[in-house]
């Protein structure tokens, strides 16, 4: 057992090494959410060239749909984990058909503005309907309690968050990078005309990709519901942090989004121990440094 300290001029806080392991693990859990959200953004960006500003609102919708399914249909957490992403994804599909599809020929900035407006609408409506202080969502029975790992008490739910989000992230990566469907997707980003010449319905593929990206956000929302406050503003500030994550990673690669998400979660976790006051600014500071050193982002191609 030894202690780790940071330099005196940064406050000189110390913690035992065992506590450090637990903090690393917690950081990883936190990073799961960044990874899931930035992955969704990257998938959408890759196909539509749009930054989906309503991603935070869709994450919030995931959590609320889980709550509503439980309240009104009696569907438990596990069912919500499947149905909430489908429902919110379907809403995403409708949004793409109604609004987004008219903007592809214009400057990409219009997509950003449109999704920003949609985010305001969604958040405002949820606030009018459900109030602002939040709603309770109980943890599923099977995941309460925790394991004593010797160096820390790890709640079962947190372990589940890591496993589930890693599975979903790697699964998404596999589909896009290693399957035939994925190769169509990637080809369509490069040359849509050519892919449609092969008989692939490119517009439909775009729609479904958007729906899938949105579903990823909703999935993260359901995961968050038992541990974070389920309130209409839960996604609004998170999305700005995720934007910074995306800038750091660069949206060139799927794997890049996943790795940066988890990595920054860990860094933020460590900051919470050593410099707690700076833990919400650290990602932005890293972003500024990365921009100075590698403007295209850690995994990005120079645009």
């Amino acid at each position: 057992m030894f202690e780790l300290c940071i330099p005196e001029f940064l406050g000189g806080r110390c913690i035992p090494s065992m506590a450090l392991f637990s903090q690393l693990l917690i950081g990883l859990i936190n990073g799961s959410f960044y990874a899931l959200l930035s992955l969704g953004l990257a998938v959408i960006f890759g196909m539509l060239n749009i930054i989906n500003f309503s991603h935070g609102a869709q994450y919030m919708m995931g959590a609320f749909v889980a709550y509503l399914l439980l309240q009104h249909l009696g569907l438990n957490y596990w069912m919500a984990l499947i149905f909430a992403p489908i429902i919110v994804g379907a809403i995403g599909v409708a949004m793409e058909r109604l609004f987004l599809q008219w903007l592809y020929k214009l400057d990409h900035l219009y997509g950003l503005l449109l999704t920003f407006g949609v985010a305001l609408i969604i958040e405002g409506m949820f606030r009018n309907q459900f109030g602002s202080s939040g709603l309770p969502y109980q943890m599923p029975e099977a995941l309460t309690g925790g394991q004593n790992l010797g160096f820390m008490f790890l709640p079962n739910y947190r372990a589940w968050v890591i496993v589930a989000s890693l599975t979903v992230c790697l699964g998404t990566w596999f589909i896009i990078e290693r399957t035939k469907l994925g190769s169509y997707l990637r080809a369509a980003t490069e040359n849509p005309a050519l892919v449609s010449a092969f008989g692939v319905n490119v517009p439909r593929m775009i729609t479904l990709t958007y729906g899938f990206g949105v579903a990823l956000a909703a999935f993260a929302g359901v995961m968050a519901a038992p541990i974070y406050n389920v309130s209409p503003q839960m996604g609004a500030e998170l999305i700005i942090v995720v934007f910074a994550v995306v800038v750091i990673g660069g949206m060139g690669s799927i794997m890049g989004a996943i790795v940066t998400g988890f990595g920054l979660g860990v860094i933020e976790g460590l900051t919470k121990v050593f410099l707690p006051e700076w833990s919400n600014t650290v990602i932005f500071i890293i972003m500024a440094i990365v921009l100075l050193v590698r403007p295209a982002g850690l995994f990005g191609r120079r645009t």
């Binding site: 930054i51 990409h108 950003l112 920003f116 949609v118 405002g124 800038v247 921009l291």
Partner: protein, 318 residues
């Protein structure tokens, strides 16, 4: 051919001149009909929107973090007027200088990326400085800086008099407005527009586009700071609202509603949005939703904005 363009040029600047005179006349008689505090507030936002529009409309850069300059200038102005007892002109100058320095730093970082990345970076940097503002002791956290003295302009003009204050705000607004107008019609402005149309081409013509973009960015931030500082003196408050991200969104909305890339659009847009906020305050609850709907409607249906549509209909430049 040359004659034709010259004629068109003369004609367009005439329409702008008429619109400008109309605007000044409106500002002169408006206080008789409209509550002056509201007018002054709207004018501050109008200047803010014009500053923002300089970037999006004439350089093609979407800054999603302009609250940073507006809000921090407003804090510094309020603080220097209240804690150091500076006269209003120096207090505003302090705010403006702060905005310029922040603009230089944030601009230098943000122009390293283009398009959507630029928007995200400016947003993230603004959010970071918002978080700093929440913590910094001098900003008063959630309480903000209250009861900022209006003081005497140049030691002579008592700004606690509503009429004096109004005239001062109108002068500041017009000065900022004309400065922006001058810039976009200068050779410098022509280069900016060339960058907007095709940056690669501008580079190949030998322009150091990054430097042009940075200067434009700093200028925009500085004028946003002028707007923010003036607002702190007018409303005698500086608060977290002014540095938070929804404010960045609001200024985008103002420019969009009025018409991106038009000279008068942001002014019209600011008045519409501030009026909406003011009157919707009585309705409550639906403010956010309505703003969102306006956003979506503008992007899908009225991309030219109010002034842009009028200009298009009348085939004039505004």
């Amino acid at each position: 051919m040359t004659d034709l363009t010259a004629g068109a040029q003369a004609k367009t600047s005439r329409s702008e001149a008429i619109a400008f005179i109309l605007m000044v006349v409106c500002l002169a008689i408006a206080p008789a009909f409209i509550y002056p505090v509201f007018l002054m507030k709207a004018l501050c936002f109008a200047l803010f929107a014009c500053a923002f529009n300089l970037l999006i409309g004439f350089v093609g850069l979407l800054s999603f973090g302009h609250a940073l300059y507006f809000g921090w200038a407003s804090y510094l102005t309020a603080y220097s007027a209240k804690a150091w007892g500076l006269p209003p002109e120096l207090a505003i100058l302090t705010g403006v200088a702060t905005a310029a320095v922040f603009g230089l730093i944030a601009g230098a970082l943000a122009i390293r990326r283009q398009g959507i990345y630029f928007a995200m970076i400016t947003l993230a940097l603004a959010q970071m400085m918002f978080l700093v503002a929440v913590r910094a002791p001098f900003t008063g956290g959630e309480d903000g800086i209250q009861a900022v003295p209006r003081g005497r302009l140049f030691g002579l003009i008592d700004l606690s008099n509503q009429t004096n204050m109004y005239i001062t705000v109108v002068v500041i607004f017009l000065a900022g407005f004309l400065l922006i107008y001058r810039v976009i019609n200068s050779p410098f402005g022509e280069v900016l527009k060339a960058i907007r149309e095709n940056e690669a081409r501008a580079i190949s013509l030998g322009y150091k586009t990054e430097r042009y973009k940075l200067v434009a960015f700093v200028l925009s931030a500085t004028i946003a700071g002028l707007a923010g500082g003036t607002k702190a003196i007018v409303l005698q408050i500086a608060s977290l609202t002014d540095v938070n991200w929804p404010m960045s969104g609001e200024v985008v909305l103002m420019a969009l509603v009025g018409g991106l890339g038009t000279v008068f659009g942001p002014v019209a847009g600011a008045f519409v949005i501030i009026a909406m906020q003011n009157y919707l305050a009585q309705v409550g609850q639906w403010v956010t939703v309505i703003q969102g709907v306006v956003f979506v409607a503008c992007v899908l249906l009225f991309r030219r904005g109010i002034v842009g549509e009028i200009a298009h209909l009348l085939r004039i430049k505004l």
